[in-house]
């Protein structure tokens, strides 16, 4: 850990869903600028919940979450929406593109929503992601790998400080996975943003700067390779 101001910091964070057992307990972690962090864990270990909290999609029950110097605990719905819009970007396993918009519109969408569209930058991203020939296509006309590249492009085009990705290659075959991951890591490193990536793949986790592991809602030592 460095002393540089973290892009994302969680201190003793806990979350319990109504009527259920605690999903997260006493989680403390940091993501520094330019740092890529992998988060693994078994199903139900709380890794998606942690990502939702970090992405201001949900509020924690206890503890402190700070994103890019802003504490999330004091924010209402509108404030959290603003955080998502302006400082964070999310990449989902399901891609979550807007089906009625074509690739060009989807790519630019988050940046437009945040009010900082940069055509040259979007165009460069489209080029790097190999989407230039598909700009007029609609999501349903693309393969899964192509759709995920659009989703990554949409996130990066908004110049987020922090990129949060939830199993971004979960729906892709191995070749596509590799390509998508390469592109994403390349873009993140070039932009200086931080990345927190949830995955169940140890192979992917190993390619990132750091690897955290969740077990039953708590950070735990990364298991030995044999166990995955």
């Amino acid at each position: 850990m460095t002393d540089a101001p973290a892009l994302l910091s969680l201190d003793d964070v806990a979350k319990t869903y109504p009527g259920g057992r605690p999903v997260l307990q006493g989680v403390t972690m940091r993501v520094a600028p330019g740092e890529t962090v992998a988060l693994t864990g078994e199903s139900g270990s709380g890794k998606s919940t942690l990502l939702n909290l970090a992405g201001a999609l949900d509020a924690a029950d206890a503890g402190e979450i700070v994103v890019d110097g802003v504490s999330l605990s004091g924010l209402d719905d509108a404030g959290r929406a603003r955080m998502r819009r302006e400082r964070v970007a999310l990449v989902f396993q399901q891609f979550n593109l807007i089906p009625s918009m074509d690739v060009a519109q989807n790519l630019a969408f988050h940046a437009r929503l945040a009010g900082r569209e940069d055509r040259a930058w979007t165009d460069e991203i489209a080029g790097r992601l190999g989407l230039r020939d598909h700009m007029g296509a609609y999501p349903e006309q693309l393969s899964g790998g192509q759709q995920q590249r659009v989703a990554i492009g949409r996130a990066m085009a908004a110049r987020p400080r922090l990129l949060l990705a939830d199993e971004p290659t979960g729906n892709l075959d191995e070749t596509a996975s590799e390509a998508v991951l390469d592109l994403m890591l390349g873009l993140v490193r070039d932009s200086g943003a931080g990345l927190l990536l949830v995955t169940h793949s140890m192979a992917i986790a190993r390619r990132l700067d750091r690897h955290l592991h969740l077990s039953r809602g708590r950070l735990a030592p990364v298991p030995a390779p044999e166990s995955t």
Binding site: N52, G55, L57, D58, D77, A78, A81, R82, M83, R84, R85, E86, V88, L90, F92, N96, L97, I98, P99, S100, M101, Q105, F109, H110, R112, L113, A114, G115, Y138
Partner: protein, 801 residues
């Protein structure tokens, strides 16, 4: 930010233009039908009001002569006895294939006539009052009359109702060729002290109170009531479409909206923008609907005005004018309707959690809600029945009607679910079982459309049954009441005696038509005296009677009263009524008397003559073999120099009455077809809505070996079966609706009940129409299914998680 969100929302419509069109068409149809009916009603009412205001004399009592003609000398005698009356001479003027009504008034003594004051013409008094005088007519009518010789100059003015020529009575005498004649006398509001009684001055005249006359407003109200009911039903049917489309659009955008929120679009902003989007669509659809309604009203209005003018003598112009109030109310209905129809969807959107579990909930009525729906339906019906049981009046009648219709609609899906469950239980064979089960699965999504179909069908059956019953009753009543082959009106009593004597040897029977107006329970009552003749006992329609009714009537031992009097005063046969201090009679029967707002009674002629002095003896019904009627009528006119109007043949009267009446059906029929069309459209909308959800349900069956063609056929069959079941269920609802219209609404509104006649052939036709509508609606989705590339079927499995 707003722009980006709006672009995303709008992109949905751009990708689904059919959905957008459906929504707009639904809104336009609802608004269009509603506003067309409103426009027709408003135009017709404005026409009467204009006519009444411009012609003055509204609400005044009148003096009438039983012979139809008042001599000028009688007018002067009345004036010189203090009676403040103003003469009117009316008659037809045929010109260029049209019949104009010439209305001559004494311009000096008539109540103020805005029709002339507003004519804007620069007419000197001597020109209007002196010879040859001036005629006032609408510009179109004035142009039509312009070339005719022997007419006074015609002044064109918008202030005169169509088809009417207004003029001074002096000019009217000359134009009509009726010097020294007056048709009726208006009794002016201010009468002096010491005025001589009417029976001393002009005993042959009768004073007719304004409410005793055929009151245009009252009669036409029944017509407007029908139209308004139709307008509401159409609007309700249209709103079902809107509700369906809005719900679908929001459901389909559920995923997009979640994505928008994940990307940082605030929920409040999204909700507000969706509401604004709906408002804009409502305005667009509403405007299109207004245009449609205006067009529709313009097409229907000539028929409506013909109906009103012919049936009720109410002047309505064929033209339509755009009224700001009408535009505002049409748009308000469109917006309110859209918001009402989408309130639930918007509410769901506003409460939608950001992190719901995967899988979108289909827009539909959930089976779990069926018991609740059935409960709500029964409560609504119960409330309606309660309203009519506890309260009297038209409002209670409409509450009953509304409760019945909405309750019936709510009962439909649970009833269908029950039928389908029973059918599925009995089905043999795998495919049959699947079809029934699949229909049940489909039911929630298509319920709203079927409810719309149910309402449209029920409204059709109800209104159709009412109108047809009305017609059948009316025809029967005409047959019964217009029994005599020839009707003759003599100039005076002396000529009446001569006519009767002349006919004695030439006709099978001469039936005097003699009546007197007395007052009973504070209202006018017309008592008719009849002679003993089988014509009455064989033909007169009795609703209720004691045994030996006609023998008792002709023996002077009983009196018949019309339904209006019986209902108003709560009189039943067997009761005694007191017509005058020394005149008590037992009521022995009640007869139907459609369209007549006043009380009427029938007793033996000698009884009437014993109690009332000076009963005119000028009108007769003449029984004669029908083939001799024309010759006899001609002989009568020649022998007594009677004007054509004084000798009338029954056949002509009947034909004319029916021709006029049938005009009403043109309008009703057109509206029937339109509502059904709207309901068919609702089915199409629902099936298209279900389309995306259908694939996952159909793909496994296809995979199990059913061909696409067979699936498409089953798809059609399913739609037809659902429509057929709905139609079957609509029949009882429609009949109850008809009963309510005939026996509740009509009685509350007009004081008489219509007997209900059933027309099973009409139901069959309607059933066929419903099936056809369902077929057409299902054809498009079925065709799509039949041509669906197998890859897309496979894709279902690939996308399935």
């Amino acid at each position: 930010m707003r722009r980006a969100i709006l672009a995303a929302l709008w992109s949905h419509w751009r990708r689904h233009p059919v959905q957008l069109l459906t929504l707009l068409v639904g809104l336009a149809l609802a608004t269009g039908l509603w506003s067309a009916v409103q426009a027709i009603n408003a135009e017709a009412r404005a026409s009467y009001a204009r006519a009444e205001a411009q012609m003055g004399g509204a609400g005044l009592a009148e003096l009438h002569a039983p012979s139809g003609v008042i001599p000028l000398a009688t007018y002067v005698a009345l004036r010189r006895a203090g009676w403040q009356v103003s003469p009117v001479l009316e008659g037809p003027l045929r010109h260029g294939g049209r019949v104009f009504t010439v209305m001559g008034v004494d311009l000096l003594t008539h109540p103020p006539l805005p029709a002339i004051a507003e004519s804007g013409a620069d007419i000197a008094p001597v020109e209007a009052l002196g010879a040859p005088g001036r005629l006032f007519a609408r510009p179109g009518d004035a142009a039509a009359l312009a070339g005719r010789d022997g007419l006074p100059p015609v002044v064109a003015t918008e202030a005169v109702p169509p088809g009417l020529i207004l003029t001074d009575i002096g000019a009217a005498e000359a134009v009509l060729g009726r010097p020294g004649e007056v048709s009726r006398l208006l009794v002016l509001p201010e009468q002096p002290l010491g005025r001589a009684p009417l029976n001393e001055v002009a005993p042959d005249l009768v004073e007719v109170a304004p409410e005793g006359r055929a009151d245009t407003a009252r009669l036409t109200d029944s017509f407007h009531l029908n139209l308004t009911a139709f307008g509401f039903l159409s609007f309700a049917v249209g709103l079902f479409i809107v509700h369906g489309t809005v719900g679908l659009a929001l459901e389909q955008r559920r995923g997009m909206i979640r994505t928008l929120r994940a990307l940082g679009a605030p929920l409040g902003t999204i909700t507000r923008l969706v509401a604004a989007e709906l408002l804009a669509l409502a305005l667009i659809g509403g405007l299109a609907g207004l245009a449609l309604g205006f067009l529709l009203a313009g097409l229907l209005l000539p028929d409506v005005s013909a109906t009103l003018r012919g049936l009720y003598g109410a002047p309505v112009e064929g033209g339509l004018s755009l009224r700001p109030g009408w535009v505002a109310s049409g748009l308000a209905m469109a917006v309110a309707g859209t918001l009402a129809a989408s309130a639930a969807s918007l509410g769901r959107l506003a409460r939608m959690p950001l992190l719901a579990g995967a899988g979108s909930r289909a827009w539909s009525l959930r089976p779990r809600g069926w018991r609740m729906m059935a409960g709500a339906g029964l409560v609504l019906i119960g409330g309606g029945v309660g309203a009519i049981a506890l309260f009297d009046g038209l409002v209670a009648g409409f509450v009953f009607l509304g409760g019945l219709l909405m309750g019936g609609a709510l009962l439909l899906p649970p009833a269908l679910a029950l039928v389908l469950r029973l059918a599925a239980g009995r089905a043999r064979g795998l495919v049959a079982q699947w079809v029934w089960a699949d229909m049940r699965a489909q039911l929630p999504g298509i319920s709203l459309a079927l409810m719309a179909l149910l309402l449209a069908l029920a409204a059709n059956i109800g209104v159709g049954t009412m109108v047809s019953s009305f017609r059948l009753t009316f025809v029967g009543w005409l047959d019964q009441r217009l029994v005599s082959e020839v009707y003759v009106t003599a100039r005076d009593d002396a000529q009446g005696v001569a006519v009767a004597a002349w006919l004695e040897t030439r006709a099978d029977a001469v039936l005097p038509i003699r009546s007197a107006e007395i007052r009973y329970a504070g209202a006018p009552l017309f008592v008719y005296g009849i002679v003993d003749h089988p014509t009455y006992s064989e033909n007169w329609p009795l609703l209720d009677a004691l045994p030996g009714v006609w023998d008792r009537v002709v023996a002077g031992d009983g009196i018949l009263i019309n339904e209006q009097l019986a209902r108003r005063e709560g009189i039943t046969p067997g009761e005694e009524i007191v017509l005058a201090p020394d005149w008590r009679m037992e009521v022995v029967g009640v007869y139907s008397d459609y369209g007549n707002p006043t009380g009427q009674a029938i007793t033996a002629l000698d009884v009437l003559l014993r109690h009332v002095d000076g009963v005119p003896n000028q009108r007769f019904g003449v029984r004669v073999p029908p083939d001799r009627a024309t010759a006899l009528a001609q002989d009568l006119r020649a022998a007594f120099d009677l004007p054509p109007r004084a000798v009338v043949q029954q056949a002509g009267v009947k034909a004319q009455s029916l021709a006029i009446f049938d005009k009403t059906f043109v309008v009703t029929g057109a509206l029937n077809v339109l509502t059904l069309g709207v309901a068919g459209f609702a089915i199409l909308t629902s099936l298209l809505t279900l389309w995306t959800q259908r694939l996952p349900q159909i793909a496994p069956v296809w995979a199990l070996g059913l061909t696409r063609a067979r699936l498409a056929r089953l798809e059609l069959l399913r739609s037809v079966a659902l429509a057929a079941m709905t139609a079957v269920l609509a029949l009882p609802l429609g009949l109850v609706l008809a009963w309510a219209l005939l026996a509740v609404i009509n009685v509350e509104a007009f004081g008489w009940r219509l007997p209900m006649h059933l027309f099973p052939l009409d139901w069959l036709r309607l059933f066929a129409l419903a099936i056809i509508a369902a077929l057409i609606a299902a054809a498009l989705p079925a065709r799509r299914l039949g041509r669906l590339p197998p890859a897309q079927m496979l894709g279902v499995f690939a996308n399935e998680r």
